[in-house]
Amino acid sequence: MKRSLVACIVLFLAGSMRLPSRGGQETTALYEQPLLITSAGQNAEVQIAAVLAKRAGLNYTLSKLATGQDLENMKTLVLVMGASLKGLGAAGLDIDKERDRVTALVAEARKRNLRLLCLHLGGESRRGQQTDELISEFLPLAKLVIVVKSGNNDGIFTRICREKNIPLIEVEKTVEALTPFQKAFK
């Protein structure tokens, strides 16, 4: 009896310590509008994020090559994570230049006390060495992370969010990101 009770407590504690998503943290009304959407890695999903923002009725601006100046009058920076060789090529950037752009942008956002929201909408195929480097660098600065689940198969988002105490929302399909994205804003 005693043993079962201990087992139940251990299971309960283990369950409550698991932090794949939210884990009791606040995930709604965290951010203010207007928001600037850009990618970290020139991926195609940045356009999907813009369409989701439009459908959510958010006051947003999309800029694929955003710089610090684009943060004027903004209240939130949304980074859509994922490196695309094709996107980088089309933008005339390599991954180092892109990292420099995003680093400067995020630094300016912090200077202006803007909150950072990170999205990863490309799933498993939008992972890889370059994407993982961007995730490691910028994800720890976010106040909320929303990801399409297959992109987190190896738990990279779970691990970083747990370490940095950042709420993480996983969705099965891209379209399901709409609701948490909308609710994240005041």
Partner: protein, 581 residues
């Protein structure tokens, strides 16, 4: 009596061994795969489709089914190849279709000869060398996702030429299954979904949120049903009215209107004057094998032959497959070949391409001798041929072999996935963005010009052993096509792999631009030791996914004469499938 017993015992032993060997062989193959059968648990696990008389391999199971159905109804390899190509328009619409173009190699067993149909797209008459350069920073967008990106499509003209000259069936018969697939729809694969997401911006921009290529304005997720009734109607119209409906009829008007609305220059006359052409194949050798492929403006076949000529000078078997020495030497060879490509390739109707010099075995030997064994050279000069100076990615591949031994290797494309993203109103098909294959340099032999065909990387091919087809092969993948095909061929001929093992094996790629090397790009399954070895030599190494679409999606057929079987290999980097009869 005892002697008889011994004979019976011996015969029994031989028979048992034969049965055992056959079972073993068949157990290592996916026997008589029919589309719709449960796929293996690990789609990347190498397996060969098996046939006795015929085989179809293509980038989608429904297209394979269309080809096999044609063969079973008595059609020949050409009929089946066109039925498969049409079905791909419905089932893999992002990679090829009637809005694009390509090349096919046909082997006619009865005549023991090969021929090539060139149905590569052509630039409109108003095209000029500076047409993209003058767009400045927006050049790339104009080249790939505007009306200017669309070249005059060649697919229907090419398929029609092949059917009328070498087929036995009508266009309507070849299109029947494609129309059904477009009408009934199918469950979207992971590959389709990923590509739909990747090309979302282009689709939103040119096809709009209401296009059938998006579901409620967002990319399809795996498992959702994709239908294209507009394409079904378009193919039905062409089936009843003929291919002229596309080039001179109502569809031509819709194409011109769609292109013009996106600032393009294609005219009704451009469409009406388009012709596919039959040309002599390009032939080369690798050791005891004869390789028959497509000539320029397709560059892939030429470069593949160049590469194999260079490889003949190296002990690749001793180095080992995907060893640092192997990857290093081949990467350096790729870089020299890309320098030749930049310098010499163009439309042979308008430029003098030194094909015999580029394919000269002595030239290959000289390039091989320039490559250092332990470091990248860092600078890659094209070949200089005295008095012979020239005067001035995402595709699909299919292979068919029929019971008579006729074979077709067919590669075709829209260029980028989903092409330009432009869909003529209500027509359901995508227009290519193959104008992007013209060079950015207005001085290049491959600069855009009126009626020119842009240089292509395609390389459908048939390899012959002792005069008989041994391997039918090809791949999409843009500039990665010839390196990927070379790696597959070497995997089979030098490293003794089965066909699908060779296709699934990890790949690598490198190139050069203006003489400067690009990184060595490898799939993550290439060993860490090899990656470290390459980095120690001084290569920049970039690591891609374990099975990355970047490296194409090869399909192949191997004829195993001694065993009287035909094997099919289909690439799991996309949705490759096969079926034998």
């Amino acid at each position: 009596m005892s002697r008889n017993k011994k004979n019976v015992a011996a015969l029994t032993a031989v028979f048992s061994s034969w049965i055992f060997a056959s079972l073993f062989l068949l157990s290592s193959c996916r026997s008589q795969e029919i589309p719709g059968a449960a796929p293996p648990a690990d789609r990347h696990a190498p397996y060969d489709y098996v046939g006795r008389r015929a085989m179809v391999v293509a980038a989608h199971p429904l297209a394979v089914e269309a080809g096999l159905r044609m063969l079973k109804s008595g059609g020949n390899a050409v009929d089946a190849a066109i039925a498969t190509a049409l079905a791909l328009n419905a089932a893999e619409p992002f990679a090829s279709g009637i809005g694009g173009g390509g090349f096919m190699v046909i082997y006619l067993a009865g005549e023991k000869r090969s021929t090539v149909i060139n149905y590569r797209e052509k630039a409109p008459q108003a095209a000029r060398p500076l047409m993209f350069k003058e767009k400045g920073e927006a050049e790339n967008e104009w080249r790939t996702s505007s009306g200017l990106a669309a070249a005059v499509p060649g697919a229907l003209a090419g398929w029609n030429l092949a059917l009328s000259k070498y087929g036995t069936r009508s266009f309507a018969e070849a299109a029947a299954r494609a129309i059904e697939i477009a009408e009934q729809g199918f469950a979207v694969s992971k590959t389709f979904s990923e590509i739909d997401k990747e090309e979302y911006e282009r689709l939103i921009k040119n096809a709009g949120e209401g296009t059938c290529y998006l579901k409620d304005g967002l990319p399809y997720e795996p498992g959702e049903t994709f239908r294209n009734p507009d394409l079904a109607r378009t193919l039905g119209l062409i089936a009843s009215k003929g291919v002229d409906e596309f080039y001179r009829g109502g569809l031509a008007g819709k194409i011109v209107a769609a292109v013009t609305a996106k600032q393009g220059i294609m005219t009704f006359d451009d469409l009406a004057s388009y012709k596919a052409v039959e040309v002599k194949p390009l032939t080369g050798t690798y050791k005891d094998f004869t390789i028959v492929t497509v000539p320029p403006p397709a560059s892939g076949g030429l470069h593949l032959l160049q590469l194999l000529n260079i490889v003949e000078n190296w002990p690749v078997r001793r180095w080992g497959q995907n060893s640092p020495a192997y990857i290093h030497h081949l990467s350096e060879a790729f870089r020299f070949i890309f320098a030749d490509r930049e310098r010499y390739l163009g439309d042979p109707d308008y430029a003098d391409i030194p094909v015999p010099r580029l394919l000269d075995k002595d030239y290959a030997k000289e390039v091989a001798s320039r490559i250092a064994p332990d470091r990248p050279l860092g600078s890659y000069l094209y070949g200089i041929f005295e008095n012979k100076r020239a005067k001035s990615s995402n595709t699909t591949h299919l292979c068919v072999i029929d019971k008579e031994g006729n074979a077709v290797a067919l590669t075709q494309s829209l260029n980028d996935f989903f092409g330009s993203g432009i869909v003529p109103e209500g027509a359901g098909f995508l227009l290519n963005d193959h104008m992007d294959d013209f060079s950015a340099d207005p001085q290049s032999l491959n600069a855009p010009g009126p009626g020119r065909r842009p240089v292509s990387s395609m390389a459908p091919l048939i390899i012959f052993k002792k005069g008989r087809p041994f391997l039918v092969l090809g791949s999409p993948g843009g500039p990665r096509i010839f390196p990927s095909l070379a790696e597959i061929i070497l995997n089979v001929t030098e490293f003794g792999m089965s066909l699908d093992e060779a296709i699934e094996a990890p790949r690598f790629f490198s190139s050069s631009s203006e003489g400067k090397p690009g990184p060595v790009i490898v799939e993550s399954r290439i060993s860490q030791a090899a990656v470290e070895g390459l980095r120690k030599m001084g290569h920049e190494v970039e690591i891609k996914l374990a099975y990355d679409k970047f490296f194409g999606g090869a399909q192949g057929i191997m004829v195993v004469r001694g065993k009287n079987i035909i094997l099919g290999g289909a690439d799991s980097r996309r949705d490759g499938a096969g079926a034998g009869d």
